[in-house]
């Protein structure tokens, strides 16, 4: 067993991980920092983010308004101290990545251009056409290449966190190319592995989004926070789940039911106007728009399709020129994958699992309760997103909290003595033996990965979808426990070492079942409706009992223990969420 020694390890090389790596290098250039990623960093899922990144820079806007939009959008489950830090630091982080070369769309005079986005009172969303995440990720990745101190382990899969004496000591990882299992020790580990959309059957998330970091932390004893809050984005293409960005609606797109009627007006989201109005109708928050879809389906107003019911997103009135300059990727995706042209055709869309508001519990500096373990980006729950994230807050989040976690981990690592490898040697050997015995050498068992994965996805969608009940959740919980047992009998077709992607798929399935259980158990215990968590048996928000974060701990027997933590309220006491003209003072978005 080889052991490589570092000071700070990043697990995950997307936006948060790369930003954190640069922050570590800049905080203390003497630290040995490395990015461990199961894919080449520029393949990370940040690449798929389309619409934009919110940060207050324009005259007339204020960080307090951005904070209030975020907090009301999150149905008052956000920690307000974290939101205040976020809105304050987002502009400088966005400027920094501009200085690093991100090709932001511009106004005629050369200043940064901004667009409207759902749930935002002002136009404050920076964008790089509709490939914002792609450009941010490549800018960050290419910029990290100039830091010789940032080492990379590309295509290494982390299977376990090493913990000794209450502190994280590093990770065990598999090098895909060689099949070698190796320990990478470190004084601090920052998880930046993103979300877990693949737990669900229909998602915008890439195949790599399997909740690895969430499960690694959960298994190591760190709690997962607010896992019941799963964001359905209202506009996914049927079958593929490819996202049609919210920017399509901020540019003026309409959502129509089968009668060509802008149905959102029936769901307390304002009145239809020809031009987009901020915080109104199609620019309402994602949770409310996705929920309206289900209600519309129940009324029989949706359109039947081969991959489930759909409504129509209508962009035709925007015209070819505007579509080509502002949302060219939407047109490219529709023509390439749906064989239709949004300039002339209606786009069929349905709600699709997009984002996890919940994640590894961290403080405002990305620190988890487990010493030496940090998390940032979608894998983490700080929480600035509360019960529902606003579109265009996740990209600035990964910059702000990637930086904060990088700095905090660097300072922690600088103050720690060298890691003692002998303390974790037994764990390393155990993990190597587990991988050999449970996967590589086992030939009996008989359970197929794809079968268990499909059953898991079906059960969580049925049990913990857009609307949930105690019964639906209990059925899912029971099914997931059975799947845990059957998982022990997974056997692989592939027993070779070189680039064994069936082995990594097996690890990923194990992670996903753990994460799915945390989602279902957390949802079962929250007997209220708030943001993206809608219980038809408890339809009201209950601030008396649930102005609290859920903390899910994994017990030694694999079961989940739930605790609660009060929400931090600074300046915005809980209030009604109001969308439509009353809230937006009729501000036009164009």
């Amino acid at each position: 067993m080889d052991i490589a020694t570092h000071d700070v390890l990043l697990v995950g090389g997307g936006g948060a991980g790369l930003r954190a790596a640069i922050a570590v290098a800049e905080t203390n250039p003497k630290l040995r920092v490395a990015v461990v990623s199961k894919v080449y960093p520029m393949r990370s899922h940040t690449v798929s983010a389309e619409g934009g990144a919110a940060a207050v820079v324009k005259p007339g806007d204020s960080v307090d308004e951005h904070a209030h939009d975020t907090i009301s959008g999150g149905d008052w489950l956000c920690d307000q101290d974290a939101v205040e830090a976020f809105v304050r630091e987002a502009p400088q982080e966005m400027l920094r990545i501009e200085h690093w070369g991100c090709p932001w769309s511009r106004e005629a005079d050369g200043h940064i251009a901004v667009r409207a986005f759902g749930g935002m009172t002002r136009m404050r969303t920076w964008f790089a056409a509709d490939k914002t995440g792609f450009h941010m990720l490549h800018t960050l990745f290419q910029t990290t290449l100039k830091y010789p101190e940032v080492m990379r382990y590309d295509e290494w899969f982390v299977t376990k966190l090493l913990v000794d004496d209450g502190r994280v000591r590093g990770v065990v990882a598999l090098e895909l190319m060689s099949g070698k299992i190796q320990a990478l020790t470190a004084k601090a580990v920052i998880l930046c592995t993103g979300g877990c959309g693949r737990v669900f059957p229909f998602t915008t998330n890439a195949s790599i989004k399997t909740g690895d970091g969430m499960a690694l932390a959960y298994r190591a004893g760190a709690p997962l926070k607010d896992m019941e809050f799963v964001q359905y984005h209202p506009t996914g293409l049927p079958f593929t789940g490819i996202l049609i960005t919210e920017a399509a609606r901020s540019e003026g797109g309409w959502l129509l039911n089968k009668n060509g009627y802008r149905y959102l007006q029936d769901y307390n989201l304002g009145k239809p106007e020809p031009k987009p109005v901020l915080r109104s109708m199609e620019l309402g928050p994602r949770d409310r728009i996705s929920q309206a879809f289900v209600r519309e389906m129940e009324k029989g107003n949706t359109i039947k399709g081969p991959y489930g019911d759909v409504v129509h997103l209508d962009l035709r009135h925007l015209g070819e020129k505007r579509i080509n300059t502002q949302i060219p990727f939407v047109r490219e995706l529709c023509t390439k994958y749906q064989n239709l042209d949004p300039v002339k055709d209606l786009i069929p869309v349905r709600p699709v699992v997009h984002y996890m508001m919940g994640g590894v519990h961290t403080d405002i500096n990305g620190a988890t309760p487990l010493a030496g373990l940090y998390a940032a980006g979608e894998v983490a729950c700080v929480s600035i997103n509360g019960a529902n994230r606003l579109g265009s807050n996740s990209l600035p989040e990964l910059l702000v909290f990637g930086t904060r976690a990088g700095r905090a981990a660097a300072e922690y690592a600088s103050s720690q003595p060298a890691a003692r490898e002998d303390a974790v040697l037994a764990q390393i050997l155990d993990e190597e033996r587990r991988i050999e015995e449970q996967y590589l050498r086992k030939t009996n068992g008989g359970e197929r990965i794809a079968t268990l994965r499909e059953e898991m996805q079906k059960s969580i969608e049925e049990g913990a979808g857009i609307f949930r009940t105690a019964t639906s959740l209990q059925v899912a919980a029971q099914k997931l426990r059975q799947l845990q047992e059957r998982y022990a009998n997974v056997s692989l077709d592939d027993h070779s070492r070189t680039f064994n992607t069936e082995l990594t798929a097996a690890f990923e399935l194990g992670f996903m079942i753990d994460v799915a259980e945390a989602i279902v158990e957390s949802a079962l215990r929250r007997t209220e409706s708030r943001g993206a968590h809608q219980r038809t048996d408890y339809p009201k928000r209950d601030d008396e009992k649930f102005l609290k974060h859920t903390l899910a701990y994994r017990q030694p027997d694999g079961s989940t223990r739930i605790e609660y933590l009060p929400v931090v309220i600074t300046r915005w006491p809980p209030a009604e969420r109001v969308y439509g003209q009353e809230s937006a003072e009729g501000k036009s978005a164009s």
Binding site: M42, R43, V47, L145, T240, R448, I449, S496, T498, E502
Partner: protein, 247 residues
Amino acid sequence: MAETIQLEVTRYSPERDASPGVQTFDVPCRKEWVVLDALNYIKDSLDGSLAYRWSCRMGICGSCGMMVNGEPKLTCATFLASYAPGPVRVEPLQYFPVVRDLVIEMSDFMRKLKGVKPWIIRPEEKPLAEGEYLQTPEQLDAYKQYSMCINCVLCYAACPVYGLDPLFAGPAAIALAQRYNLDSRDQGASERMDILSQHEGVWGCTFVGECTKVCPKNVDPAGAIQRYKLAAAKEWFKSLLMPWGTK
């Protein structure tokens, strides 16, 4: 359920095989399916040991490039039915060493990418407090096309020069060098010029333009290379005429 189509897939395991072979699979030919869906069907239902890379399934992560009937393609953006009645040959991208099955060795490209210094180079940085570097939409347009590269390396698999001379920096790396050279915020063009000029591979590019034809993002690396050659030739002439004046 509808018709099936035959896939002829390259199989190679360095632990087992002396050289790559071909395995055929019959898969459903559904109209919504891309070639990648067919590979996923094989992995999930027929043979879990098939190795290939993929992630986003929306043509932006750049992972799933392969040769499909002899052409470099993103398999997530290539419909299966357009090859009916088949068979469809799926091979690893050519000119790269093969790790296993459809997985190629990427490290040569990663070295070349880093080699062209694809980051903003400026002798002096202004503080963040002074705001953004202004850049008009026209200035953005000057390099935007080259910034669209997703590093899928289809252009290398299409490039006859790279096939003959692996030292050639290659289409994507040169396009990304140009992406920064043409960015109004950057002042590193001459530094990058020195690196690119070190090897003569670039002069071997005869503007066949295969790289531009296969690029799924319309980056036009062939155009980037021609512009680079023109700029480099000018620099060279200047250095002959005015040896003191170019640096």
